[in-house]
Symmetry: C2
Subunit: 107 residues, 2 copies
Amino acid sequence: MSDTERLPQPATADIDLVTVLHALGDPVRMTLLLSYADGAEHSCDPHGLGLDHLHKSTVSHHMRVLREAGVTTTRVAGRNRFVSLRRTDLDARFPGLLDALLPAAAS
Amino acid sequence: MSDTERLPQPATADIDLVTVLHALGDPVRMTLLLSYADGAEHSCDPHGLGLDHLHKSTVSHHMRVLREAGVTTTRVAGRNRFVSLRRTDLDARFPGLLDALLPAAAS
DNA sequence: TCGAATGTTTGACGAGCGTCCAACTGTTGC
DNA sequence: GCAACAGTTGGACGCTCGTCAAACATTCGA
């Protein structure tokens, strides 16, 4: 479902550019962003992203930073949380930003 | 002159995206970036940018961060330093990034 | 030559960040 | 029920960051 419960996140109009850049100015969170770039929903398990060395609470912290900055949205479904990129909201708020950022980060 | 002495800065190929985003993820440095967006050279005096409350050593520190991240270049001319945006280098390294960032930051 | 001007550097301080660990909440399945 | 699962929260630790103040270096002008 698309309209189950969601964790708190800023409204689209309240997404702040400096806050977003600060959130993305960290190698771990940039890695997460790249994995979310496919538009799909992802669990909080960072297995296979090269983040296996991090404690799960550390990954949880980084995901919270991304969500509170407005970069991602988190849908709660049972004991799982599904994280995905707020592509539409970000494109509306900062046109062209993700289109420039994602290829630059992937290389 | 355009080829007087310059302060140390990373080569274009060595500019790192996460480092750039980290540099820009600060309100003071974002203000500086916006003032450099006109492409002109600027002295280190932040007068008129709404940064008058900051100590000059603090501004100097922020300018160093921007330069070491590869965002700006600093030309030394006598007792003045002229700072300007590395627009061409950044466009080559991260196509479209400044074009998305500057309008988003200005609003 | 001497003083003013323009920035940088160093050290200090408090605040925030990234990380881990342990304990906790809520959910699913047996 | 109860144990395993998925993830969050709180505290603790060291490190980095933003800021200021004072001292310094260099250059220009009188």
